[in-house]
């Protein structure tokens, strides 16, 4: 495999799974030209006039859709760790004797370790999506036939739109749908909130199959997915385990150190002047970021400040802010708890979004760059503010990128992270895998204080008199190394074998994940 050094100084392959690749050229340095991908012309006369597209089962749907060896099947992660549809789907694919599928999920979860046997027996050739937990271990140990491709939510949309990924069959699990194929995620026994991750697939795939456990008579309202894009509808007993699809209730962290980080982030937003009337922020559903929202809310109330919009991952904490009038809107990307789902159903100010509106590289702009502050996590950050979210310091793939890369384009990007986990430093010389270039990362918020990117002189000035310690990131690294007993050794990898690549939001290759040696 031929490797070249890209603009981030990383060795990346020029060809992956038989496709030519463009190495990363720098932030905002690559603009593909030409026309977007386009689905074939369809004609309504080929579809049932009574609008009933229901077929007997998934196998029938796949047969009718013309499933063949080597095709690309896409699925979506809104059912999270409660998903059984994807696992059943590949049981059927295996039963049909089909081989070498490219699986194109918007993300994977530990529940999908069921698919390892299909990766082993050649039913699935490789994964383009996230490789979490057991799938990450499998991939990193060099056991997958093809090379994994990791993309952000925005990057996934981009790859579909510029033709890099052509989806043959999209399978969309829908908590509620009608026989025509209109579908929504905000109701039904498996309600998950929204299913915006499937939007691109519904528009661009050759064949679209909706799978539901709550089939209602036409019309299914709202139609988050339009039936006009759907070929077949399959009714099943269950989409999965509701308790693992959304949590009954999300909770803030109890860790005193994480709470301290959350408090520092809220204080930073306040003291830097970002928190002012009409501002906006994005906060995820991790324990630390949830706590941040709670602390920020206290400060907003105290100063009588109101946000214009909050970007979710929505949770009950954001819903409370909406209902108490502390924000005009929640622009929701995915819903994490039952309160979020309820609010989305009932509150016109709780708006559902998709990777197209929020993150898409080939749109005429997107929401991500309009957000005043984004609070995110990371597995590692280096002294140049480059950050990693997909591998751990032992070299193993463990997480997907999600919307993380896309959110880096906010006006102020804050990574809220502990300085070390057990004995593992989070602040390092050089990240194991680079997922976000340091020039886009403004603040590292830790339990030891804030590191502000030197290029943000404005923020450094604004925080000069803060009670939060402002630390040089190199000094912080020294302190952490002293605590942990020296800098950690780098994982021993096989530089001749790339097991996965990390794409940047524009489709170029930002970094490679190498096979771990001696396992």
């Amino acid at each position: 495999m031929k490797l070249v050094k890209n603009a981030a100084g990383r060795l990346v392959p020029t060809e992956v799974n038989g496709l030519q690749q463009v190495p990363f050229r720098g932030v905002n340095k690559y603009k593909p030209t030409g026309n977007k991908a386009k689905p074939p012309i369809r004609t309504c006369i080929d579809y049932p006039t009574d609008g009933n597209k229901v077929v007997k089962d998934l196998k029938t749907a796949l047969k009718k859709a013309g499933l063949k060896d080597g095709m690309t099947i896409s699925t979506h992660h809104h059912l999270r760790n409660g998903d059984v549809v994807t696992n059943i789907l590949f049981d059927v694919v295996k039963e049909m004797g089909i081989k070498n599928i490219r699986w194109f999920p918007s993300a994977s979860f530990p529940v999908h370790s069921h698919l390892i046997k299909y990766l082993e027996d050649g039913t699935i050739h490789h994964i383009e999506g996230s490789m979490n937990g057991p799938l990450g271990k499998f991939t990193t140990e060099g056991k997958m036939k093809g090379v994994g491709v990791l993309r952000s939510h925005g990057g996934r949309y981009q790859s579909i739109q510029d033709g890099e990924v052509h989806i043959d069959i999209a399978v969309i699990a829908a908590p509620t749908a009608d026989p025509f194929g209109n579908a929504t995620g905000d109701r039904g026994k498996s309600a998950c909130g929204l299913i915006g991750f499937a939007l691109a697939d519904s528009e661009y795939a050759d064949k679209v199959i909706v799978v539901t456990d709550n089939l209602v008579p036409f019309p299914c309202v709202p139609w988050q997915i339009q039936g006009n894009n759907v070929d077949y509808v399959v009714e099943v007993e269950t989409l999965g385990d509701p308790a693992k699809i959304v949590s009954g209730t999300t909770e803030v962290t109890k860790s005193p150190d994480r709470l301290l980080i959350a408090e520092y982030v809220a204080q930073f937003l306040d003291e830097s002047g970002i928190m002012k009337d009409g501002f906006s922020f994005q906060a995820g559903a991790g324990g630390t970021t949830l706590a941040f929202a709670v602390y920020l809310k206290e400060r907003m109330k105290k100063k009588n400040v109101k946000a214009r919009f909050i970007r979710g991952g929505s949770t009950k904490y954001l819903v409370q802010m909406l209902e108490e009038g502390l924000t005009d809107y929640i622009l929701d990307g995915q819903t994490f708890d039952l309160e979020g789902v309820r609010s989305m159903r009932e509150n016109a100010g709780h708006v559902n979004t998709s990777p197209f509106t929020s993150y898409n590289f080939h749109g005429k702009g997107n929401f991500a760059s309009m957000v005043d502050a984004a609070v995110l996590g990371a597995t590692e950050v280096d002294v140049n503010f480059n950050a990693n979210v997909v591998t751990h310091s032992d070299g193993y793939l463990l997480h997907g990128i999600g919307g993380w890369q896309n959110c880096l384009f906010s006006k102020c990007t804050i990574l809220a992270i502990p300085t070390f986990r057990d004995r593992i430093p989070v602040i390092v010389d050089e990240v194991t895998t680079i997922c976000g270039p340091g020039e886009l990362i403004d603040v590292i918020a830790t339990e030891r204080g804030l590191c502000i990117n030197p290029k943000r002189k404005d923020l450094l000035k604004a925080m000069k008199n803060s009670s939060i310690p402002i630390i040089d990131i190199k000094e912080l690294k020294k302190e952490i190394d002293a605590i942990c007993g020296g800098a950690p050794a780098k994982p021993k990898v096989n530089k001749a074998k790339v097991v996965a690549i990390v794409k940047w939001v524009d489709g170029t290759v930002l970094d490679s994940v190498f096979e771990i040696k001696n396992v």
Partner: protein, 405 residues
């Protein structure tokens, strides 16, 4: 003395263990050191763990042994303490101590009238809480050797606390250790006195003799290890007898900086239940405050144990402050800020203190021996109190450092 022991274990094992480790050492007759390391941080620190264990084996003179290490991300100070423990359980007569370098950040001393609003209790055998405790800015951090440590692990906690005193950054919090009840607690002293402890908490204190006993041993060890920094005592009164003897205890040594009350044991001792209102302990608390003030030292309140109810904590501190207490015990870092806020002076108190300090400075400038504010004379203790109020106000960001301008 124990003979024929050829195998010892130490530390913690299992999937739920974090930031700790487990050792098994079995002495053998030949074959050198056989090392088996299973570490969660193998690829990052496997080599460094191996080096440390081999180095320590050499230090302790282990020549032939089978050593098993199951590590769940323990920091070096923890690995060292656990390994030393296994060695010493195997060879109880071994006198050598494996001391990590004392970090320079920790070489500070404190004052007798140091602010002691909050003191955070950390179980002495739970290393995962040590390293970041100081970041939450308690006035004092207590490494506990007493009630939070099971009787069978006292030796483990002694080594861990010793290592922590040397290599954990306390970030300027006062470095405190709660020893075991006297006289057993005397055995703890050699693990803390040479390692720059600032305050020793003396549990279940009931007499001046106990303090004398403690002081004698502390002095002996200070001399032996050439310790220069002052070491203060904070007796904890936790019984009916202790309450009655409060003044005797408070004046038993010049090194006593504060008297603290422990209400869990006290209420049990007088045969009642602890309530939120605290009517059952009002005598004890007032007695203790009075004894402390008569002795010219601080009166420190008990811990607040409901970590989920911050409002009740705040009310409890406000009540303690109104009685005359100057500090409160914390069992969770999130309590610290609430305690500091509740002990902070009110706007009226700050304004009054400013006037007093101005009047004092004015009188000094004019060379007047007597300070007066309006028609009132102001005594030196009032001035001292006012200065303390100003300091507290600045600490709590209620007053600018340059408030005179």
């Amino acid at each position: 003395m124990a003979k024929n022991i050829n195998k010892a274990i130490s530390g913690k094992r299992g999937d739920s263990v974090r930031s700790d480790c487990y050792f098994e050492i079995e002495l053998t007759n030949s074959g050198g050191i056989k090392l088996d390391i299973k570490s969660k941080v193998q690829s990052m620190y496997g080599e460094s763990i191996k080096e440390m264990i081999l180095g320590m084996s050499k230090f302790f003179g282990l020549k032939n042994a089978k050593i098993l290490c199951e590590d769940n991300g323990a920091l070096p100070l923890v690995l060292a303490a656990r390994f030393e423990l296994a060695v010493k359980r195997l060879l109880p007569d071994l006198k050598k101590e494996y001391l990590l370098p004392i970090i320079k950040q920790n070489l500070y001393s404190t004052k007798k009238d140091q602010l002691r609003r909050s003191r955070l209790y950390l179980p002495g055998n739970e290393p995962k809480f040590f390293v970041n405790a100081g970041l939450h800015s308690p006035d004092g951090i207590i490494l506990d050797l007493e009630d939070s440590v099971s009787p069978s692990e006292k030796d483990a906690a002694q080594l861990l606390v010793r290592n922590a005193l040397r290599s954990v950054d306390f970030y300027n919090s006062e470095r405190m250790v709660r020893i075991n009840q006297l006289p057993k607690g005397l055995d703890d002293l050699k693990f803390i006195i040479p390692h720059n402890v600032n305050v020793i908490l003396v549990p279940k204190c009931e007499s001046a003799e106990q303090i004398h006993l403690l002081e004698k041993e502390v002095d002996r060890l200070k001399k032996r290890y050439k310790v220069q920094n002052p070491i203060y005592f904070m007796p904890i009164i936790e019984s009916a007898l202790g309450v009655i003897k409060a003044y005797e205890i408070a004046t038993a040594s010049n090194n006593i900086c504060s008297l603290a009350i422990g209400l869990e044991d006290y209420t049990a001792d007088i045969g009642t239940q602890r309530t939120n209102e605290g009517r059952e302990s009002i005598f004890a608390r007032q007695m203790l405050i009075n004894a402390a003030k008569a002795a010219g030292i601080q009166a420190i309140d008990t811990v607040f144990s409901d970590v989920s109810d911050m409002e009740a904590l705040r009310q409890s501190v406000i009540e303690a402050k109104s009685l005359g207490f100057e500090g409160k015990g914390c069992i969770h870092p999130r309590q610290i800020q609430v305690v500091h806020e509740a002990f902070a002076p009110t706007v009226e108190e700050i304004e009054k203190a400013k006037k007093i300090v101005f009047a004092f400075e004015e009188a000094e400038k004019k060379g007047l021996g007597v300070v007066s504010l309006g028609s009132k004379m102001i005594d030196p203790p009032v001035v001292k109190r006012a200065i303390r109020t100003i300091d507290l106000a600045i600490l709590n960001n209620l007053l600018d450092k340059n408030w005179r301008e």
